[in-house]
């Protein structure tokens, strides 16, 4: 990756809403170069999407997020991919990762209630072929996500105005 694209990626990872004109000003390059750089990053599949980082607690009081760790039996030849692909299809599922260590797959899901999440695990996940066991961790509080800090108003300890 060239240096400009690397810097573009850094900036977009922090804030994907910066306009091309703003990005161009910050990097000291033309808007055309920014447009071309982003297009290339998208075409190469380096940038796969743009999404808001949401404080779910504020957006929906009942929203529940859970991290579910699965132990699974890998299938011959296809490893863990088949199962991961099956799980990916569910709309409730936010992330699917293959892990090293004691558990194999880690899944994040967000549901509208505790009960719905629990039912999803027991009725959809636990019953899948190859799933040996599930461990569900409910998220109690979010402090930081994708380097963005929740409830940031308390984080700047500097005086409002100083010489």
């Amino acid at each position: 990756m060239n240096n400009v694209n690397k810097k573009l990626l850094d900036l977009l990872k922090q804030n994907a809403r910066l306009s091309n004109a703003e990005l161009a000003a910050m990097l000291g390059i033309s808007e055309q170069e920014v447009t071309a750089g982003i297009k290339q990053l998208e075409q190469e599949g380096i940038i796969i999407g743009y999404a808001a980082i949401v404080n779910e607690e504020k957006a929906d009081d009942n929203a529940v997020t859970a991290i579910i760790e699965l132990k699974v039996t890998p299938f011959k030849d296809r490893g863990f991919d088949d199962l991961a692909h099956t799980i990916m299809q569910y709309d409730e599922v936010d992330t699917v990762f293959l892990l090293s260590g004691a558990n194999d797959l880690s899944i994040t899901i967000t549901g509208t209630s505790l009960r719905k999440v629990a039912l999803f695990v027991s009725e959809r996940l636990a019953v899948l072929d190859g799933v040996l066991s599930t461990t569900t961790h409910f998220v109690l509080r979010r402090y930081k996500e994708k380097s963005h800090v929740f409830n940031e108003e308390h984080s700047d300890e500097r005086s409002l105005v100083s010489p």
């Binding site: 900036l11 922090q14 804030n15 809403r17 910066l18 004109a21 703003e22 000003a25 910050m26 990097l27 000291g28 700047d156 500097r158 005086s159 409002l160 105005v161 100083s162 010489p163």
Partner: protein, 391 residues
């Protein structure tokens, strides 16, 4: 009852509180203000320096140091100045570690200025110079710098301000609040005026690492014949994001430093020990952190300049520090009025340029020591404010 009017000298009572202070009081009353008004980095001190401070505390190194500061630190400062401003200072006798750059300025002024002396203060500039001169019994003489000259000090303005009473010139570059800097050839013209005089230069170089584009910072001390008449003031606050550690230094000719050290001994003893150890680490192990911060400042600088120019508040391109100084004359308002209305209607705090001297009238100081997200949010609100004014 005691009569404080009689107890406190007129000279002290006459000193005006900083215009920044007044604006701070306003900003505090308004709920939910987002600020572009601070004069300190938003970054945390590099971890290596913080860790060294923890380490030093664990070892119980909590005693006074030598008056002039730890010799290891003075050696590192000497090495830094040799590399950075190409000027050599003896760690023994030509460098004092001070409580922030502020103390160094105070020491320099108290060591030099006596009643009847004039001290030249180019403005707009940082708020402390003139009050210190006044306390010393001297007379501050402002030299106006203008946007037409990119807020640089002109040699002819300097020449015109010099009288037989002129004791010293403050040279505040890179400049707070304008972000202007003095390039080598511009400093050369200033030096030309001063060579052969008995005028001392107090060169406040606290933002010296923060210059953007082209040549790095040049100190007037490095120009021919100028080291003997220059006191360089610098510190750790801005470069290493160490404002709260209160650590700066000065370097200058031995006879002056000797006198300044006496004042320092009597009023401070020695600068904070833990901070001094952390500063050694900052100088020796934190270059990468500094470079990362500088790159980030530069990006924000361009973003903010573009933001103001786009909304029609013309903004000359600052080449140093972390401030931009857009012109608000097109709104027809005084800077203090502009800032008050902005804070009440859009809850954004910026500092009136007039707080930095009369020649700052018509401008506002905007700090970009904030995250990009914070900056874009604030700029958007200022844009709305300016749009609404046009209606």
């Amino acid at each position: 009852m005691i009569d404080y009017e009689k107890v406190i000298p007129q000279k002290i009572r006459d000193i005006q509180p900083s215009g920044i202070r007044k604006f701070f009081d306003i900003a505090q009353q308004v709920e939910g203000v987002i600020s572009l008004s601070v004069g300190e980095p938003d970054f945390k001190t590099p971890w290596a320096a913080r860790k060294e401070a923890i380490n030093v505390l664990e070892k119980g190194r909590t005693a006074y140091t030598a008056n002039a500061g730890l010799i290891q630190l003075r050696k590192e400062i000497s090495l830094y100045l040799k590399n950075f401003i190409r000027t050599e200072y003896d760690p023994e006798g030509e460098i004092i570690v001070t409580v922030g750059g502020s103390e160094a300025l105070d020491l320099a002024m108290r060591a030099l200025v006596q009643p009847g002396d004039e001290v030249l203060v180019p403005e707009p500039s940082f708020v402390c110079y003139s009050p210190i001169v006044t306390v010393c019994g001297g007379t501050p003489v402002p030299i106006v710098m203008t946007e037409e000259d990119k807020f640089k000090l002109r040699a002819d303005s300097l020449k015109a301000a010099i009288t037989p009473r002129t004791k010293a010139l403050i040279l505040p570059f890179p400049n707070n609040p304008t972000g202007s800097i003095m390039r080598r050839e511009e400093l050369e013209k200033i030096a030309e005026v001063l060579r052969g005089t008995d005028i001392m230069v107090i060169s406040d170089e606290i933002y010296s690492e923060m210059t953007y584009g082209g040549e790095k910072h040049v100190s007037i001390a490095s120009l021919e014949g100028m080291q003997e008449r220059t006191i360089v003031v610098n510190g750790f606050s801005k470069t290493y994001a160490m404002t709260g550690w209160r650590l700066g230094y000065c370097a200058g000719p031995r006879p002056v430093i000797k006198q300044m050290l006496k004042l320092h001994q009597y009023c401070i003893m020695s600068s904070p020990t833990v901070s001094q150890y952390a500063a050694i680490t900052a100088l020796t192990k934190c270059r990468e952190d500094v470079d990362r911060m500088l790159e980030e400042y530069d990006m924000r600088r361009r973003l903010v300049v573009k933001g103001f120019n786009d909304m029609g508040l013309t903004c000359f391109e600052p080449e140093g520090a972390f401030y931009v100084f857009p012109c608000i004359k097109s709104t027809g308002m005084k800077s203090s009025e502009f800032c008050e209305k902005l804070i009440y209607s859009k809850k954004v705090a910026v500092v009136p340029g007039s707080a930095f001297g009369e020649s700052g009238e018509g401008y506002v100081r905007v700090s970009y020591a904030y995250s990009v997200h914070h900056i874009t949010t604030a700029l958007e609100r200022i844009r709305e404010f300016v749009e609404e004014l046009k209606k």
